[in-house]
Subunit: 409 residues, 2 copies
Amino acid sequence: MKSDIDSLMQAANLDAILVSGSAQHNPTMFYLTGGAHMTHGELIKKRGEEAVLYYSPMERDEAARTGLPTRNLMDYNYQELLKESDGNAAQATAKRYKQMLSELGIESGRMAVYGKVEAGPSYTVLTALQQLMPEIEIVGEMGRSVLLQAMETKDASEAERMRRMGQITVEVVDRVASFLQEHKAKDGILVKADDQPLTIGDIKKKISAWVAGLGVENPHGVIFAIGHDAGVPHSTGNPEDLLQLGKTIVFDIFLQEPGGGYHYDFTRTWCLGHAPEAEQKLYDDVKFVFDDIMGGLEANAPFPLLQKRTCDLFEEQGHPTIQSDPRTQEGYVHSIGHGLGLNVHEQPSARGKGNLLKPGVVVTIEPGLYYPEKGMGVRIEDTVYVREDGEIEVLAEYPHDLVLPISKT
Amino acid sequence: MKSDIDSLMQAANLDAILVSGSAQHNPTMFYLTGGAHMTHGELIKKRGEEAVLYYSPMERDEAARTGLPTRNLMDYNYQELLKESDGNAAQATAKRYKQMLSELGIESGRMAVYGKVEAGPSYTVLTALQQLMPEIEIVGEMGRSVLLQAMETKDASEAERMRRMGQITVEVVDRVASFLQEHKAKDGILVKADDQPLTIGDIKKKISAWVAGLGVENPHGVIFAIGHDAGVPHSTGNPEDLLQLGKTIVFDIFLQEPGGGYHYDFTRTWCLGHAPEAEQKLYDDVKFVFDDIMGGLEANAPFPLLQKRTCDLFEEQGHPTIQSDPRTQEGYVHSIGHGLGLNVHEQPSARGKGNLLKPGVVVTIEPGLYYPEKGMGVRIEDTVYVREDGEIEVLAEYPHDLVLPISKT
C-alpha cells in the first residue's frame, strides 16, 4: 500500500520517481494524488520524502486539495528556457525537470518514470533529460513496477472506496433483475407492453443510464451476453439479441469511480424463467467450484494454487481446461481471478510465482465454463478483500441464483 | 485529413510511423483504426503503403472489421524472444518490433512513434529498439506532429460524425432547458414540487443520465456554473449552488463518441426568468462580438487574426483583455477558439503563425467575458466546419437567447 512505497523503492534501488500527466484516467497519478481534478501535473517523490505536486496555475486549488506540498509550474519560466534552447521544446522541458529535481536534491541515482502519456513527446523529453543529467539513470520498469507493487495491497480507505463501488454495482444489478422481471414472456421471449421484443441493447441502455445516474463510470462497457455469446468470454453481447427464456445470460459489470478511480468487478449468470437440464448442470458445476474456492480462501495462500485447484476440479467434472489443453476454446479457458484496484487487472496475478493473497489485496474469484457451440456459458464472480486480520470479506454480497423467475405471461 | 498522411510524412521526412496502445481513448490509434474495439494493438505504416494492424488473438474479429491489413501478434513468438533475451521483456518486445518492421521493409530512415501509453515501459522499449536498430531514427515529435497535422482537417465522414454529436448535444441542451422550465420559482430560486430548492448537482445528474441514455460519453464533465462561478472560466460549477433567477449560468458541454471518438463543443449562457441590466449588457457585448466573428468567418483566414479582432472589439467596449493585460483575470481571458476532433483541443490554434482556417478544419468560436467579483460571466460557443467548398457550416444550430423564461411561480 501507499505506506510501503519508500521500502519498495529501496528494494528496487530507486532514489526517486517522476509521474506525469492528468490526475484523471491515469492510474499512477490518480493513486498518488488521490484523484485530483487536474488535467496536467507532474509529481516527484524522493525516497524517504513526501511527494511534491507541480500544477498549472488554473488548477492551483485542485492541487492544494490533495494535501501534498505543491509548486506552481509557472515558476520555472518555461518561455525563458525555450528561448535559451533555441525553441527546442524537449530541451526546455528537460531543463525544467532538471531545475525541479535539483531543488529537491535529486542529482544522481535511479529515477523511475510513470504516467499515461503520449509516447512520442515522452520519449523525446526523457531522452533529452537523460542526456542533460547523465548522473541520473532514468528507469522505465517493465511489469511489476514499484507503484504496481504498492497498489497491490489496499489500505482501509481504498477498501472502503471499493466497498462503496460494490454497493453501487449490486444496486445496478438489482435494478436490472427487477427490470427484466417487470416484463412478460410471450412465445419464449421477453416482450414490452406493446408486445415488441425486449433486446439486449435495451438492457444496456438502461444500465448506462442507471450507472450515470448513480454518479459512476462504466468505461469498459458491460458484458450482457446470451446463449452462444455467453459461451464466448470476451463477447460483450449482441445489442439485437432477444431475451429468450431458459438461455444462460452472462452479466459481467465492472464499474469505476468517476475520473478513473477504483473499480468493482462482478458477474452473475441468469436463466430467465427456468433453466433446462443442461444449463442447470453447467451452472451447478461452476457453482460447486466457486463455493470450493471461496470456502478455501486463506490469507497468504499462493494465488496460482487456486488456478490449479480450479482446473483440477473442472477436469474431475469432465470439462476441458487450459491446464489439460492450453488451446481449448471450450470448458474453462481463463484465469480464476485477478487483482483489482485503479486498474481492472492489476497485481496479484493467478499466474506466476510470488503472487500471494497477502493481507490488503483485493482480487476477483471468477470460475466459468463456456460451450459456445452448445449455446451456453456460465461465470460467477465476486470481489474479495483479504483484510489486515486475515479475514476474507466479499466486498458486496448478492445472491448467486441461476433462475430469475418471470411471472408475467 | 487521412489522405494527406503520406505527403505530410514526406514533408516531415518520416519513413514510417508506429502507433501503440488501445484503440479506445487513444486519439491516434482511434484515428487510424476508425475506433476499433481493441484493448491493445500495434499499427505500423510505411510511407506510401497502407497501415498494418497487429492484434491479440482474442481481438481478431475487431481488428478485421477495420478493413486494414492485419497480422496476429502471436505469430511473432514472444515467449521464444523472451527466452532468448534472458527474460528481459524490453529486449524481447524490441526484437518483436524489429521482426515486424523488417517484414514491412522498414530497415532504416526516420520513424515517428505515437499512442497513449505508460511512460516507463514505453521509454525502456523504445530505447532498446533504438539500440537494436541504430539505422532507424526513432522520432518523438513535440507539438504539431504529422498525425496532428493530418487530424487538423476532417473528411466528409468525420464531419458527419461531429454533426451527429452536435445533434445529440443540442438534444441534451434542449432537455436541460425544458427541465429547468418545468420548475417553479419561489423567493427567486427554482424549487421542486416539494418546495425544496433545485441544485446544480441535480441538473448535472440529469445531464449525465441523458448523455448515457443517448449512448455517448461525457469524459471531461460539464460546466454548469452560476453567478460568481460563471465568472471563472474553468469552474465547473458548485453542485450545491441554487438556481437563482437573473444570474448568469454558463453551460458548456463537450460530448464525445463512445470509446474516445469525436467531440462536439458547445456553450450557452442563460439567465432564468429575467436578465438584470448588468447581465443583459454583458451578454449583449459578447453576442455582438460573437456575431461579428461568426459573420466574418472565411476559409483560409488566419485563426489568430480572429483572436486579435476579438480582443480589439472587447477593448473598444471597455473590457480588459489578455491583449491589453496578459495577466488579467477579468474581461476576456482566453482564446477565441480551438480546433476540435478526437482531441478536445487540437489544431488549428488561435495562437501562433501558420494556423489557417483551411477547408476541412472544425473549430470552436467562443468569445466570453468574466467578472467573478461582480458575480457574472457570459460565454457563447458554436462549433463550425469549414467545408471543402469554403462555406462555413455551424454543425448544430441552437438559439443563443440569454433569458430562459420561467412561467411557473
